[in-house]
């Protein structure tokens, strides 16, 4: 035991941090005894405080007994042993959204994790603050990501990398998914940074107890990370039950309303032609048919798979449900969804593995997909069919093929389009949303709450 280490451990701040950390972990259900706490203190002593990542690993090794506790541990560690206080020099002042997005695109293209970490700090500082009265103000990753929209940088980053490395190599076909994983990582960094800033403001004990996050049904589909989506998927069944009750009620009302004039008059013959007993029209026995046409490309995957699961859970309400998925080719996935109920996590992976959705590239192409759908699956759509198109209408600059959509509207009973992007972004970049919206009823559908309302209103009865 060195003299230095002794002074370190005597440091009451360090002891407070360590016990605070342990208490917070226990608060999250991790079982940590005094033995482990003592080991943790010895680890700090042996490792010193100079290197924060070593300290993180050392504390994890002494305090945890399994891999399951690690995500909680990392989040809590970031609060009790933060990278620093406030923001580093040079950060702050007027934040320029486009400039930050440009630098983010560059860092994503270079796969530079240090730069991504710095940008996360800047992004939260520039766009994550809210409120101005003490007590109601704070820092939010949700706001930051909502302003920055890192997921919309995919095409730009891809083109940048291709411009640099060329597109010829085999590994080039992996590029988009790799970029998506980097974006996911950036999102995680922003979340951690916002928590750190919030902890400075509101006290780390409180933030450690309940990290800032909107409830699952209000999380933007396009902003939700993996964990959030998993949480959301668990809400599918309850949501479906609620919707089913609502749909059934609507159907009863619709059936009750109409009086069958002919049958009422026939019945009135016995009363001398006075119609005393109105006969209500019998409910139409056939239930409507539903077709879902879903973009499952990475940029909107969370949205489409959630919606597919929801509709699948509602299938009793229809005489027929067919689901088609596309990226740049279309394939029917109705059969895959039946298993999907048991394993919602893997749904998207399964669809993408077992259906033929892509030709030689991996970006969505609405024009090609709509064209192929009207050609190959003409039989799926008839006068009793309601069609829902799910997707962001981002064509990656390809021809939107408006005639195909027009053809669809002529043959179907109704065509609705649910777009997970905020209305303000429709038409920006490669979005063909305004053009499509002239042909069909396009609605903004950013989170589960909106989806619930829309599905309840738009589903045919």
């Amino acid at each position: 035991m060195t003299a230095d280490a002794d002074t370190d451990l005597a440091d009451t701040d360090l002891v407070t941090r360590l016990t605070g950390l342990v208490d917070a972990l226990r608060g999250h259900g991790l079982r940590i005894g005094t033995g482990e706490t003592v080991d943790a203190a010895r680890a700090v002593e042996a490792l010193g405080l100079a290197d924060r990542e070593l300290l993180r690993e050392g504390l994890a090794a002494t305090l945890l007994h399994g891999a399951g506790g690690r995500p909680v541990f990392d989040a809590v560690f970031d609060l009790y042993f933060p990278r620093g206080v406030g923001v580093p020099d040079g950060v702050g002042g007027e934040a320029d959204r486009e400039a930050l997005r440009a630098r983010l695109a560059e860092a994503l293209a270079a796969n530079d994790s240090a730069a991504l970490a710095r940008l996360a700090v800047e992004a939260v500082d520039g766009f994550g603050g809210y409120g101005d009265s003490p007590g109601s103000d704070g820092w939010s990753s949700y706001r930051t990501l909502d302003r920055l929209r890192p997921q919309t940088l995919l095409a730009r980053v891809r083109d940048e990398v291709r411009g640099r490395d060329g597109a010829g190599s085999f590994a080039d076909r992996l590029l988009e998914d790799e970029i998506r994983r980097r974006i996911e990582e950036f999102r995680r960094l922003v979340t951690a940074e916002a928590r750190r800033r919030a902890a400075e403001r509101r006290g780390r004990d409180e933030i450690a107890r309940r990290a800032l996050a909107p409830t699952a049904d209000r999380v933007d589909f396009l902003l939700a990370g993996k964990d959030r989506l998993a949480e959301l998927r668990r809400t599918v069944q309850p949501l479906a039950r609620k919707l089913a009750t609502r749909l059934a009620a609507r159907r009863r009302r619709a059936a009750r309303g109409a009086i069958d004039l002919r049958r009422t008059l026939r019945g009135s013959l016995s009363t001398g032609g006075v119609p005393v007993k109105p006969v209500l029209r019998r409910r139409r026995p056939a239930r409507p048919e539903l077709v879902l046409l879903c973009d499952v490309s990475g940029s909107v995957a969370g949205f489409s798979d959630f919606t597919m699961l929801l509709v699948q859970a509602l299938h009793d309400q229809f005489s027929k449900v067919r689901v088609f998925a596309f990226v740049n080719r279309v394939d029917e996935v109705t059969g895959l969804l039946v298993h999907g109920a048991a394993d919602p996590e893997g749904l998207n992976a399964r669809i993408r593995a077992e259906a033929r959705l892509t030709a030689w590239h991996d970006s969505s192409d609405y024009g090609a997909a709509l064209g192929e759908f009207t050609d190959r699956y003409a039989d799926a759509v008839g006068p009793r069919t309601t069609v829902f198109v799910l997707g962001d209408a981002r064509t990656n600059m390809a021809d939107p093929n408006l005639p195909a959509l027009q053809d669809l509207t002529r043959r179907a009973r109704r065509v609705h389009w649910l777009n997970p992007e905020p209305r303000t972004l429709w038409g920006t970049g490669d979005s063909a949303a305004p053009a499509y919206a002239e042909l069909v009823d396009m609605r903004e559908c950013r989170n589960a709450r909106q989806l619930d309302a829309l599905v309840g209103r738009l589903l045919p009865v």
Binding site: A43, L47, A60, A61, S169, A171, E354
Partner: protein, 285 residues
């Protein structure tokens, strides 16, 4: 054993093991705190190799207890050499039974197994208890006893206490949850798949003939396969095997044909191969 975390990294690297910061830190602490190290993670990420590398780096003898279903005290701790004892008795030396008994339960007739071997003697040792999750739960009681204060009581010989504690590594693929008590005895380390940079270095270290560009492509494709939700995701061992195969095939870059023809080295299940081929847009296999 080690003077710092960097010292761990450097000395493991000399023996051919490239440690991530998490691995190096935890090994350093396990040595410093004198606690056993429980290493969990999928197959083929270098758990067993880590224990061997520590032994090489410290000039220590590796004592390995390979666990399997049904491994018991006589395989893990010690056994008496019954055949030899019988021979000794029937050879008879005209002594009393008491004398004979003392004699046949002496060191000469003892067959020490790994746990006993590891705590006897003064030479530095690394005790590797490999694939602990494969053993039955009953053996954990024995492990707890031995790993608690590194002493064991042999009724006929008395208590053996380690004069020099071995550096102990338990590995597990987590096919079964080890008991809470055993976990509490240990420092915990999870080894997952390495990041791309580390994996490239491992490939180039293990297969020196592979150039940087090919190593990078191999690691990228393996990374993509791991993201695919397969029955068995490829591990470091498969990455290294694949690089070796490519070298043998004389492939200097990855292309569609090469990948299609060698995918079987990386993926073990037929349906995984099919799924991956579809996702990677390879022509039908």
């Amino acid at each position: 054993m080690f003077t710092s975390v960097d010292d761990v990294s450097a000395r493991l690297a000399e023996t051919g093991y490239l440690a991530s910061p998490a691995v190096a830190t935890t090994v350093f602490l396990a040595a410093r705190l004198g606690k056993p190290l429980l290493v969990e993670g999928p197959a083929g990420v270098g758990k067993t190799e880590l224990a061997k590398a520590v032994a090489r780096a410290c000039d220590a003898r590796l004592v390995r207890l390979q666990c399997y279903e049904g491994v018991d005290e006589s395989r893990a701790l010690y056994e008496w050499n019954h055949a030899k004892q019988l021979l000794r008795i029937s050879a008879g030396r005209g002594e009393t039974w008491d004398e004979a008994r003392t004699d046949i339960f002496s060191e000469e007739f003892l067959l020490p197994r790994p746990l006993l071997t590891a705590i006897r003697g003064d030479d530095p040792k690394v005790l590797l208890i490999d694939e602990t999750d494969k053993a039955d739960v009953e053996i954990e009681g024995l492990l707890l006893e031995v790993l608690g204060d590194f002493q064991v009581t042999v009724p006929e010989l008395g208590t053996v206490t380690a004069t020099r504690r071995p550096f102990t590594v338990l590995t597990s693929n987590a096919t079964r949850e080890l008991s809470e008590a055993l976990r509490r005895r240990c420092l915990f380390l999870h080894i997952g798949f390495p990041d791309a940079e580390l994996e490239r270095r491992i490939v180039r270290l293990k297969v020196p003939g592979v150039d940087a560009a090919l190593a990078e492509s191999v690691v990228r494709v393996v990374g993509a396969l791991r993201a695919m939700d397969l029955r068995k995701a490829p591990s470091v061992a498969e990455t290294v095997d694949w690089a070796r195969t490519l070298l043998a095939l004389g492939a200097s870059t990855l292309d569609e044909t090469v990948v299609r023809d060698s995918l079987g080295v990386v993926l073990k299940h037929q349906d995984d191969i099919q799924k991956a081929a579809a996702k990677l847009d390879l022509d039908a296999l």
